[in-house]
Structures are given as C-alpha cells and as structure tokens.
C-alpha cells in the first residue's frame, strides 16, 4: 500500500520536473542549431543574426528597448483593463435588459469579425495616436470577455435561481450573489484570452501607426529596425514581445487558479 503510494508520488514528481525540463531542452536545442547554422553557413547578421548577437543587442540597446517595452506594456495593460470592464459591463447590461442586448450584440460581433489590421488605419486618422492604439487593444480584447461572461451569466443553476426567487431576492442580490459568482469561471476564461489579445491589438496598432512615426512601442521599434536593416534589434524586440505575452498568460492563469481553487472543478487535482 505505502509502497504503491511512494511510487505514485515519485511518478508525479518526475512528471512535474519533465514538464519544466523538456520545453527548456527543446529551446536550448533550437538555440544551438540556430547558432550553428549561422556560423557554418557564415550568414551575415543583416540576414540572420546569431542568438548571441541578439542577446548582446538586447543588453546594449536596453535603454531604447526597455523604454519601448514599458510603452507597449502600458498600452496592453490599459487596453486589457478597459476590455475587462467593458466586456463584463456590457454582458451584465445585456443580461439585465433583453432590448439592449438585441440592439447592440450584433454590432459587438461585427466589431470582432472585422480584422483589426483594417480598422487600425482609420482609427489613426480620427483619434490621437495614443488613443487609437488603446482603442485597437480594446476592440480586439473585449469580445472574448463579453462572449464568455454572457455565456456564464446564462449558465446559472435553475434550482439556485428558483431558490433566490423563493426567498424574495432583489435583482441586485441575484446579480451579485448568484449570477456573477456563477459566471466567474467563464469571466476568467475570457480574461485569459483577452490578456494575449490586448497585446496583439497594441502591436497591430503600433505597426499601423509605425510610418506616422510618433510612436515608441516595441512594435514601432521592430518596424523602425526593419527600415534600418538593424535585424538583431528586430529579433531582440520580438523576443521581448514573446516574453511579455508569456508573462501575461501565466499571471492571468495564476489569478484564475487563486480565485477558483477552493470550489471550481477546473482547479481540482484528481486522484487517480
């Protein structure tokens, strides 16, 4: 009995280590192959820089890149917060009033299905650049929050809804004590998607604004470095964008886990 248990525990430990080690090993292998290809093929840095050059550029250009990272992250965060507030707020509004839902929902869908790359230049004409970038981040990110929250608000246990009715709950009580907690797992799922999308929205808008020149975000740096054939800096900026996306994803997963771990099925580790 205890022997079998020790074996199980050992297996889970090995499993956990492998889950971290294997992706790292793949990454290391990829970097080594990349370095070898550059050296053996004697490829010039303006075609493909070696990983070492990318890293050293990252460090030497940190003053420029770090400032740009901050600009892009700020836009992303603002877009994300607005998307979260707007998505949840609209979903609650739709939930409270069917007429408003019927009137506005189709346009939320239209806003979502129209490619953001096509909308961005227009926004840049009508809005100041910073606002246009933010609007792009918002447009891309709010829809998954809206759609998921709407679904969550509708997925309330009917018996629980009856129970609230039986005890004479007010609309407000039903919303805060029943609908929103029941929708929380869905809302968090929407936010997890919105986090990555708001970064994409910010980058798309910065690139669209790129030729206008006033921007200083990471995507703008990529465009600018492209014009100057500063390929190592392009790679360094791209690396920072990926890392930012990964950090956003894990941060939101952690928040979701912390909020749901006591009660939701998704956060339960099953014993086999």
């Amino acid at each position: 009995m205890s022997e079998a248990r020790a074996k199980d525990e050992a297996r889970t430990r090995v499993d956990r280590v492998l889950r971290v080690l294997l992706p790292i090993a793949v990454l290391a292998l990829g970097v080594v192959v990349w370095e070898l290809v550059v050296r053996v093929g004697d490829i010039p840095p303006y075609v493909l820089p070696s990983p070492r050059l990318v890293f050293s550029t990252l460090i030497s250009d940190w003053a420029v890149l770090g400032a740009s990272l901050l600009v892009t992250l700020t836009t992303t965060l603002e877009g994300f917060l607005l998307a979260a507030a707007g998505g949840v707020g609209l979903a609650v509004l739709f939930n409270q009033s069917r007429l408003i839902e019927y009137s506005l929902y189709p346009y939320a869908v239209i806003l979502q299905v129209t490619p953001i790359v096509a909308i961005a230049p227009l926004l840049l004409i009508y809005l100041p650049q910073q606002a246009a970038v933010l609007a792009c981040a918002w447009i891309v990110a709010f829809f998954p929050v809206l759609a998921n929250t709407t679904l969550g608000l509708r997925s309330v246990d009917h018996n629980l809804a009856d129970l609230f009715r039986l005890y004479g709950a007010t609309r407000r009580q039903v919303l805060w004590e029943l609908n929103l907690p029941a929708a929380l797992p869905y809302i968090l799922g929407g936010l997890k998607i919105a986090g990555g999308l708001s970064l994409i929205g910010a980058v798309v808008a910065e690139i669209a604004a790129g030729s206008a020149g006033a921007g200083s975000g990471l995507a703008y740096r990529i465009v600018e470095s492209g014009y100057r054939l500063n390929i190592p800096r392009m790679f360094a900026a791209l690396l920072l964008l990926s890392v930012a996306g990964i950090v956003i994803f894990f941060a939101l997963s952690l928040v979701s886990h912390l909020l749901l771990r006591r009660w939701h099925e998704s956060a339960i580790v099953r014993e086999v």
């Binding site: 009715r165 039986l166 004479g168 029943l178 907690p181 006591r262 939701h264």
Partner: protein, 253 residues
Amino acid sequence: MALHSVGKTFVNGVLALERLDLDVRPGEFVSLLGPSGCGKSTALRIIAGLSEPTSGTVEWLEAEAASDTAPRRIGFVFQEPTLMPWATVAANVRLPLKLAGLEPNAPARVDAALARVGLSGFAQSYPRELSGGMKMRTSIARALVTEPKLLLMDEPFAALDEITRFRLNNDLLALWRSLGKTVVFVTHSVFESVYLSQRIVVMTPRPGRVFTEFLIDAPYPRDERFRTSADYVSRCRQVSEALARAIAATEGP
C-alpha cells in the same frame, strides 16, 4: 394550507395538473406519491409560489398569511442539494437570512441550523468537500434556518444511496417531531412514503390529480423495528397496489 381545484397547463400545452384538491393540516407530515411526470413537483412549486396555477386557488390559514411574509414561512428542499459551490457551508445556510436582510443574529441561527443536521464541524467546508448525504443535510439546514412553518421537500433523497437515505429518513423524522413543522414530501418511493408520513396522497399521471389517500396511523417514533415489521410490509403492499391502479387507470387498456 389548501389547494382548491388547482390546474396547471404549461406553455407547450402539456396539462400537468387538473382539478387538484389538497388540504394540509398544521404540523402534518404528508407525502405526495406518484410516478414521475404526475405533476407532484409542479404542485409543490405552486405551493411555494414558484409557479402560478393556471386555474384554481392556493389558500393559506389566515393566521399564517398575516403573521409572516411568504419567504419566511416556507422552506424548500430541492431534488439536488442546490448549493452555491463558491460559498462555504455556513455561507450557503446563511443565504436565506442574507436575502431577507436578517443579518444581525445570523451566525447564531446558522450555527443552530447546522447543529440540528449534525454538520457543526463543517461550517467552513466547501460543498465539493462533502459527501452527497452531507450536501443534502446542508440543504436541509438552509431550509430550516428561517424557521419556516412549512417545509416542502421535492424528492430530496432520490439521488442518495440506500444507507444514507435511511439515515436521513430517520434524522428527518426526528427533526419533524422536535420542531413541529408541517412537511409536504414529494417522492416516488412507496417505502419511503410509508415509513415517513402520517398521510400519503397517491396521484395519477397526465393530468396529475389525487387518486386516493392513505392514513398511516402507525405510532411515532418509527425506527428500524417499524421498517421490518409485518404492519409496515402490508401497508407498503396496499400503497403499491393503489399506485399500480393509479397508473393503470390513466394508461387505459
């Protein structure tokens, strides 16, 4: 409390209840027994005010109607435990008080309700940490916390295993005897209804109406001796036969 010739037709045209008459006396334990789809749950929902009858009336004793508002005079236990998974056992039991704005002495009343169903040690647990029987106990504690005069139970133990069901049957009887509530208990189990009730109302399906009634005048307290007695078995046989006739009567040849 009484239902007078209550009928209910759903929007999709299904006739759930037709001219249903039911009198419930204060302090009584009465079961509604019938096959699934006979409208017994619908009758219960109409009593609770969760559903409006299409015809007929629900009448309350004047004293009851005057003294209390509807939410406080009724406790309802659903087929499922129907707990909020995001809230602790204590918060779940506290809900009716919170919704009614009766917060001040809520903790004491929640503790008392939990103690009555034997869950004192689990106030801070979450529903998913409890067994099926304990979830149902929580649900019963929640129904009791407003100290209602009338307890409506809709097949509350149908999903539980037999051992747990027997224990909860015994505990429910003990609660009923000590608290003096009126209980309307919906079930499709002949054995459960005979064991628990003073009176069994057998219903016919489609449309639901009263077929016949049985008085179960065996003395309380009832326990395992009653459950294995010849008296219990013969009463169960009578009720089963009536139920079979009720089903046959509507199905026709």
